[in-house]
Symmetry: C2
Amino acid sequence: MSILVVGSVAIDSVKTPFGERKEALGGSATFFSIAASFFNKVDIVATVGEDFPKKYMTLFKNRGIGTAGLHTAKGKTFRWKGWYDYDLNTAHTVYTHLNVFKYFKPEVPLKLRRSKNVFLANIDPELQYNVLKQVVGARLVACDSMNYWLEHKRKAFERLLDKVDILLLNDAEARQFSGESNLVSAARFIVSIGPKAVIIKKGEHGVIYFSKNSHFIAPAYLLESIYDPTGAGDTFAGGLMGYLSKASRIDENNIRKGIIYGSILASFAVEDFSVNRLLNLSMGEIRARYDHFRSITKF
Amino acid sequence: MSILVVGSVAIDSVKTPFGERKEALGGSATFFSIAASFFNKVDIVATVGEDFPKKYMTLFKNRGIGTAGLHTAKGKTFRWKGWYDYDLNTAHTVYTHLNVFKYFKPEVPLKLRRSKNVFLANIDPELQYNVLKQVVGARLVACDSMNYWLEHKRKAFERLLDKVDILLLNDAEARQFSGESNLVSAARFIVSIGPKAVIIKKGEHGVIYFSKNSHFIAPAYLLESIYDPTGAGDTFAGGLMGYLSKASRIDENNIRKGIIYGSILASFAVEDFSVNRLLNLSMGEIRARYDHFRSITKF
C-alpha cells in the first residue's frame, strides 16, 4: 500500500551556526518522500519550475519515488532562504519566493487516486481539501499545517480536520490553534473537533501523541551535533507514514512505533544540510538507532 | 539505609497565575524529605528561626522525618517570595531573606554521620563540602546547586564534584557550568571532571541522565494543571534518592527507575501549592502513576 504526498518541492538556501548551503534541494514533499522511501513506494504531487535541476528528478527516480504527479510548470521553482542561530527551533526567513507554487492546483494522477496512505504536507488547507476529494478509499490520512493557515484560513482548515486521521502540528501551532497554553488542553481541544489523533512536535523535546482515549509521550533522540533543522518535521512525518504504510493495522501500538521511526529519521536528517544525510543513510543505521533509542529510554 | 539531607527549610510566599499562598512551608530540604519519606526514613540537617511554626515541626515528625539536625537558631526563618507567569519554568524572585540561614554551619549529629545516602541540596558548595567531611562511608552522594554558586564559587564547587556520585542541575545551569549550549556536550564535560553521573532536569520536557558510559532520557509526566512549580526539583531528588535508598544496588537499572519515581513525585508536587499535594498523597497513587507513565511511554 503505497503512499501519496502532496506538498512542496523547493530550492532552499540555509545558513546555520555550523555552515551554509545555497540552492539545495528542499521542500516538505521532498523531505517526506525521501524519509518514507526507506519503507515503501512514495508518489509526489507537487510542482516545480523549468529551472528545477534534472539531477534532482533523477534522485527521486533512483529512490523509487514516483514523479508522475510532479508537474513542471512554466516559471521558476519555489525558493526559500532562511537562517537559524543557536536556538535551532526557530527559523528566520530571509525570503519566500513562491514562483510556480503560487499557481499550484494539485491534481492527483488517475492511477494514484486509490492511494491508501495520504500525507497532506503544509499547503493551503483549501488545496489539501481538494486533494482529499480526488482520493478514494484511503486507509490513513495525515496532515500538517503552519501558523499562517491556522490564522488566515481557519475555517477551511477546520473543514478539513473531519477527514483527517492524524494531524501533525508543532507545539506553538497547537497552542495558537487551540488558544490553550497547556499542551494537554490543546491536544484535548484539537481531537474534540475532528481528527482521530494529534501529534504535537516539540523539536528537541520530543513528541506528544494524543487521541480521544489515550496518549503517548516520547523524548527526542539525543544529538550532540545538529547542523540544519530544516525539514525535520516533514522527515518525521515521512518516517511515521512510511512505517505505518507497511503495518498490518493502524492501531496505537503501530502508531507509537511509527512515531519513534519518525523521530529517528528526523534525528538523522538534521545531522547535515538539505537531504544529504538521508541520502547517505541505510536501513541498517535506522534500525540500529531505533534499537538504541529503545535501550536509552527503557526503565 | 536511611537518608540524610542538608539544605534549607523555609517559609515561602508564592504567586502563580492559578493562585497565591503566603507564609507556606518551603525549602529544598523540606520538599526533598517529604518526597523521600514515602520510601524511607529521612533526617534533615538545616536551620530555622525561633518563629518557625511548631505545626511544621510536628508535620516532619509525623512523617518519620528526623529533626535532630534541624537546629533552631536565634532570629527568623529563611523567607523567599516569588512569582511565576504562564511560563512556569522561570521563577521571579521578589525577595530572599536569608535570616538565620545566613549563619548556617551545617553540623551533622554524631549518630547520623554514618548515613548511607546523602543529598546535598542547593547551598554554598563550601558548606556542602564540609558536610561530606563529617559523613563516613556513604554509599550514594547526590548534589544539587544553582547558578549563583556556579558563577561565584566555581572552585569550591569543582572540588566537591570529585566526591559526588550524581550531580543534579537544570538545563540552564548545565549550559552555564559547561559553557556548552548542546546538552550532550554539557553532560559529557560535567562527567569528565568529577561526578560519576549527571542528571539534567528540563522541567516539563523531562530529564537526561548521563554517565561516562551510557545515558537515559525520559519525558516528564504530562499534566493538564500545574499550580506551583516551586520545589519540583527537590521533590524529584527526594523521589530518586528515596527509591535508591531501598534498592539493593546502585546500578543504572535502579537509577532509571529512581528517576521515574522522582519525576512522578515532582508531577504530584506541582499540582498544588507548597507541599500540600505531597501531604495528601498515598503510595498507591504514586505506584499507579508510575505504572501509567510506563504505559504511555512504551513502544
